[in-house]
């Protein structure tokens, strides 16, 4: 014990006189461990606390405070009471003692055993004896933290202080300048307002003290360690100012005043604060300021040059209108909503009748903002503006005027839609329904494409108004749309019509089933070739265009199961009549029909009904038709079926893979079973129209390409199954696919077989079986590749690349050996260029298989991983390679880097920059182009590494301006354009040189090059020039 007390005395001595700050920690540890008590510490401090030197006393108190900060939890209520009394008393002492006293008090406010009444007494002496704003930064923050702590734990006691507490706080924060402390002070003010402290007569003072910071203008210093952002301060202050309606009478005039400011951010902040505050207010808080607010809002929207201000202004108007709509009316008071909307209408409505002047749009937007606020507001506004708009549409003759009016109407319809989602009331537009329909239909019949396009979007908006259009209106609309689909030549219009039909079909399927689909079918199957021959050519062309539109319309309207049932048979019929040749559909049309089927499979909801439709109807039919075509292929009859074409088969694959991947896994399993037994065993029993020979062997057709290429359909099916679905007879399937991909000579066939093999490998469970399989296959591939005379070299290489991709995606350990093989092939004389290209396949997403949509095993960030594991090898290989092979390495590198996500490109760029710059001076145009396209996005935000190499970069880019390839010239000019946004001081030295160099491409013989040169040169001229940048 005696040893302890001497130890304690020496600790105190060393801290107080020896000024060793670390001793405070040792003392605190001692107390925590129970070596000595607080009482003993106070006793040991005795001499220092009573010293006649203020600095010694301060040092003593500081030791006590620091210890308390560490061990305030172990104190008893009695000890706390004594300590508080001591500290309160010390507040009256010399000013140098105040800082440690405040720290001690702050530590005590965190005690859980604070005796009742001590919070109040602490605050009273604090407010009485300390002038907060003459303290230093940290002490002020200490006071705020004390207040925050006490507000958390002793709310009831503080509220007992009444308005005195608010007054004390106001005095403490009045004049605060440091943003860190302001955040704390705003937090306290926020607590005062939101937790129901009594403001007494100090509401205005509290507002004054806080609102003097509004609007906040603060730019954090560079590399600010405190991480305080302007947004944070703005948000905190906004919460305070908008917290209570008691501030309304002060805040609203302030906002009106600040909206006059020239500073953009001040305007924006004012508008956002206005939007936030009115959500708390009632109409009587707003009443006297409405006129002023409206005048400011109108001015901002009418005259602004910034979209942000405009949309903030519109939001504010919506907020004010909905606040006014919320309020309950007394019988004697006037209806402030009506008064306000009268103001808005008075200033805006007349602009709507001048559709070619600038203010028509700002006015329409203001009215629509008010309209969207509430049901009542939309009734008042639409009643006032719709009749005149409709009348104008009839009276105006110019198409551009009519279109503006239509667009305005559409925005009104849409603005009402947002406000009415929940209520089941009658639509605001019921009264205008007949005239609106007449207007839309007459616009659809107009001979002006932009008018027609606008009309379709108005029609869509009207249809989306619940319960507005009658069935007869819809039927009429469908008639109009059908007519346009069949007759309209303009691409933009038909696109809009198709889109509109899709939107309407979702809401009113019946009209489309009974009217549109039969009509389209009839139109497509009417054969134009029967007509006499001299008209045939142009007729044929227009019929082709009609078919194209019909096909895409069929896909667009098929969003619901009921419609799908009607539309897919039509599309299948197109395929089968193309196959038999009964109606002359071209290859393009057949491809489009497949695309439409694919779009339907992608969009339609996954229900039992649609699943059956695709698995029982569509897929068997596709398989059977293409098999018929393949078998017929050999017979040399006059008609060659379009279903033999590669483009048609490639279009069928996604139909099958999309349905197998996303529609009804149980049904997909059956489909897979049927497909595999068809391809492996020649089992044709599952196909419709069964008149096939029974001995077909689709996977063993070395010589008949028409049958072997069907393997791509098998790929579409088995490679897109969910992983839960077992592929039947998979071992045998894999070995036959391997055989086929190594021996077949038809490119589509062996590539599809390799892809199918890879797709299956990707989903096989990890284990020895898989490893053995891969090793066996690779042995075969390597043998083929190594034997110089091998004829199957390309086939083996294709298989290698696809298997490498399948394994790379799932992080399989064997993938490294395969990709290493690819790297080594870069030196190969024959396969080098192909190997360089293959990295693009390895790193990019494939659409038909091995992606997440097809349920493949794709690990996240496999690209980054591959890159970080292999970039060193690539650089090494590049340095070691002979000059003529270097191109392959650069091409491989740019293929890899191009596919990396931008963040990775940016982080990896410094290491690769010299290599990429090397690639820019490589004579191969493909390398130049892909390097430029990989540099361009990176140049958007300048990295330090790039800035160091600026000289080399700019020189090489300028050199490429005179490349013989136009695409290289364009890409290099784009890069030069991007460089103009680098920090001004870095690029200014190059300005004159770049401007001189860019004068030449201004006179390039290609217009596309000149356009880029003009853009880039314009930006470089603005650089470092007044008013520029």
């Amino acid at each position: 014990m005696a040893a302890d007390s001497t130890l304690l005395l020496s600790l105190v001595e060393e801290y107080v006189s020896g000024l060793q700050d670390s001793k405070a920690k040792d003392t605190a540890t001692g107390i925590k461990d129970g070596q000595f008590t607080i009482l003993q510490l106070v006793e040991a401090l005795g001499l220092s606390l009573t010293s006649s030197q203020p600095h010694t006393r301060a040092r003593g108190v500081q030791l006590l405070s620091e210890v308390l900060q560490e061990c305030h939890e172990g104190l008893t209520e009695g000890e706390v009471e004594v300590l508080i009394a001591f500290f309160e008393n010390r507040l009256k002492d010399h000013y140098v003692i105040t800082p440690p006293v405040l720290q001690g008090l702050r530590a005590l406010t965190k005690c859980t055993v604070l005796p009742p009444g001590s919070a109040v007494s602490m605050l009273r002496s604090l407010f009485q004896d300390v002038h907060v704003q003459s303290l230093m930064l940290t002490e002020r923050s200490c006071v705020y933290k004390m207040l925050i702590n006490l507000m958390e734990s002793r709310e009831a006691e503080l509220k007992g202080l009444g308005a005195d507490f608010v007054f004390g706080f106001l005095q403490s924060m009045d004049g605060e300048r440091d943003p860190r402390n302001l955040l704390l002070a705003f937090q306290i003010a926020n607590n005062i307002i939101h937790r129901g402290y009594d403001l007494g007569k100090f509401a205005e003072e509290l507002f004054e003290v806080t609102s003097c910071y509004f609007p906040i203008d603060f730019t954090p210093p560079p590399n600010d360690p405190h991480g305080i952002s302007k947004e944070e301060l703005v948000q905190m202050l906004r919460n305070v100012l908008t917290g209570t309606p008691k501030f309304a009478e002060f805040l609203l005039p302030l906002i009106i005043e600040k909206l006059d400011s020239d500073v953009l951010s001040a305007k924006l902040d004012s508008l956002q604060t206005l939007t936030a505050c009115v959500s708390q207010y009632e109409h009587k808080d707003l009443a006297e300021f409405l006129e002023g607010l409206w005048a400011s809002l109108r001015r901002e929207v009418f005259q602004t040059s910034s979209e942000k201000i405009e949309s903030a202004g519109l939001d504010a108007l919506t907020a004010i209108t909905s606040c006014l709509s919320r309020s309950v009316l007394n019988s004697d008071s006037e209806d402030s909503l009506c008064t306000f909307l009268d103001l808005v209408l008075r200033d805006c409505k007349h602009h709507l009748s001048e559709p070619d002047l600038k203010l028509v749009w700002p006015s329409a937007k203001l009215l629509q903002a008010a309209c969207s606020a509430s049901n009542r507001a939309s009734h008042i506004i639409t009643a006032a503006v719709m009749p005149s708009l409709l009348e104008q549409y009839d009276n105006r003759t110019q198409c551009s005027h009519r279109r503006t009016i239509l667009e305005v109407v559409q925005r009104f319809v849409q603005s009402v839609k947002t406000s009415q989602s929940a209520e089941k009331e009658e639509s605001v537009f019921v009264a205008f329904r007949p005239s609106l329909c007449t207007m839309v239909f007459s616009a659809l019949n107009e001979n002006n494409s932009s008018l027609q396009k606008t009309a379709t979007s108005v029609l869509t908006s009207l249809a989306q108004q619940p319960g507005l259009l009658l069935d007869s209106d819809i039927e009429l609309a469908v008639d109009h749309l059908t007519k346009l689909l069949l007759a309209e030549e303009d691409e933009g219009v038909s696109l809009a019509v198709v889109e509109c039909a899709g939107a309407l079909a979702e809401l009113y399927p019946e009209a489309f089933i009974t009217k549109l689909i039969p009509r389209l079918k009839m139109e497509m199957f009417s054969d134009p070739i029967d007509q006499d021959n001299n008209r045939a050519v142009s007729e044929h062309q227009s019929h082709h265009a009609v078919c194209k539109r019909c096909l895409s319309a069929l896909a667009a309207v098929s969003t619901q199961a009921r419609i799908v049932h009607e539309s897919t048979p039509v599309l299948l019929e197109v395929l089968s009549s193309a196959h038999t040749g009964s109606v002359g559909f071209s290859v393009d049309q057949v491809v489009l029909a497949c695309r439409s089927l694919q779009r339907i499979a992608e969009k339609v909801q996954d229900t039992e009904e649609t699943g059956r439709c695709f698995h029982d109807l569509v897929i068997p039919r596709l398989l059977s038709l293409s098999l018929q075509a393949a078998l017929q292929g050999e017979e040399s009859s006059g008609h060659r079926s379009p279903l033999l074409e590669e483009s048609v088969l490639s279009a069928m694959v996604p139909v099958i893979s999309t349905s197998c991947s996303r529609l009804q896994p149980a049904l997909a399993e059956q489909t897979a079973l049927k497909a595999v037994s068809l391809f492996l065993n020649g089992d044709v029993s599952s196909l419709p129209n069964n008149s096939f020979p029974s001995h077909i062997q689709l996977l063993k057709q070395g010589d008949s390409w028409s049958q072997s290429q069907l393997v791509c359909l098998l790929m579409g099916c088995v490679c897109s199954l969910p992983r839960s679905v077992e592929v039947p007879q998979v071992e045998q399937l894999l070995s036959e696919l391997e055989e086929m991909s190594c021996t077949c000579t038809h490119p589509l066939s062996y590539t599809s077989a390799a892809k199918c093999f890879a797709g299956l490998i990707n989903k096989r469970p990890q284990g020895e079986d898989l490893d053995r399989l891969i090793q066996r296959t690779m042995k075969r591939v390597y043998t083929e590749l190594d034997s110089a005379s091998s004829s199957a070299c390309t086939q083996a290489f294709t298989l290698l690349v696809w298997v490498a991709k399948a394994l790379l995606l799932r992080y399989h350990p064997l993938s490294t050996t395969l990709t290493d093989k690819l790297f080594s092939l870069l030196d190969n004389a024959d396969l080098g260029p192909m190997a360089a290209e293959s990295f693009s396949l390895l790193m990019s997403d494939t659409t038909d298989l091995l992606n997440r949509g097809c349920h493949a095993d794709v690990r996240i960030m496999y690209r980054q991983r591959f890159f970080s594991e292999n970039s060193a090898k690539l650089v090494q290989g590049f340095n070691a390679a002979p000059q003529e092979k270097k191109t392959n390495y650069l091409k491989a590198l740019s293929n890899i880097v191009n596919n990396l996500p931008k963040q990775v490109q940016i982080s990896e760029l410094p290491r690769l920059l010299s290599l990429l710059l090397e690639a820019l001076s490589c004579p191969d145009q493909a390398v130049q182009l892909s390097t430029l396209s990989c540099l361009e996005p990176v140049l958007a935000d300048p990295l330090p590494a790039l800035i160091q190499q600026l000289e080399a970069l700019i020189n090489r880019l300028i050199a490429l301006n005179s490349s013989p390839a136009m695409s290289v010239r364009i890409a290099s000019l784009r890069c030069i354009h991007a460089v103009s946004h680098f920090p001004e001081h870095e690029i200014l030295p190059f300005r004159a040189r770049v401007l001189r160099a860019l004068a030449r491409p201004l006179d390039d013989k290609k217009r596309l090059v000149r356009t880029e040169a003009v853009r880039a040169r314009g930006e470089w001229f603005l650089l470092g020039s007044p008013g520029g940048r």
């Binding site: 600038k358 013989k1005 003009v1014 001229f1021 603005l1022 007044p1026």
Partner: protein, 159 residues
């Protein structure tokens, strides 16, 4: 822009913008020589910002494609522009902006002539004379406050 200032013409007539130029097959052909044509010159100047409104010269119909004449072989460009109102005080500034834009965007073999559409401005001759005088144009661009306004008209909108 700010609350107090008054615009000379607060509610001007707005015209539609032309779409992007459609690319033709010959433009993508490496060997074909595309001549500089009216539309190409018009594309250079149509997006110049108006000094007063957040609108382009095209939207205010100050410049039109039919008032742009170019002869690539003889290296001559002639442009007429139409102020929105006959007393527009910005006419010289707009003319200067067009001229500067073309000086920066065309090969220097071209002779550039920018003037007001006849009969559309009160002090047409004076403005035309100023714009035609090389010395005065050069002197104007030495004036940094004038250059600032011109550059603002020529800067592409970031939003």
């Amino acid at each position: 822009m700010s609350g107090g200032t008054h615009l000379e013409n607060a509610n001007p007539v707005i015209f539609q913008r032309t779409g992007e130029r459609l690319q033709t097959a010959t433009e993508e052909d490496e060997d074909f020589h595309d001549p500089i044509d009216d539309r190409e010159i018009f594309d250079m100047i149509r997006s110049i910002n108006d000094p007063e409104h957040p609108l382009s010269l095209e939207e205010l119909n100050v410049v039109e494609q039919i008032r742009v004449k170019v002869n690539d072989a003889e290296s001559i460009v002639g442009i007429e522009f139409t102020p929105t109102i006959p007393h527009c005080s910005m006419a010289t500034l707009i003319g200067l902006s067009i001229k500067v834009k073309l000086l920066r965007s065309l090969p220097n073999r071209f002779k550039i002539d920018v003037h007001i559409t006849p009969g559309t401005h009160a002090s047409e001759d004076a403005v035309n004379k100023q714009l035609a005088d090389k010395e005065r144009v050069a002197a104007a661009l030495e004036n940094s406050s004038l250059l600032e306004v011109v550059n603002q008209c020529l800067s592409t909108k970031s939003s």
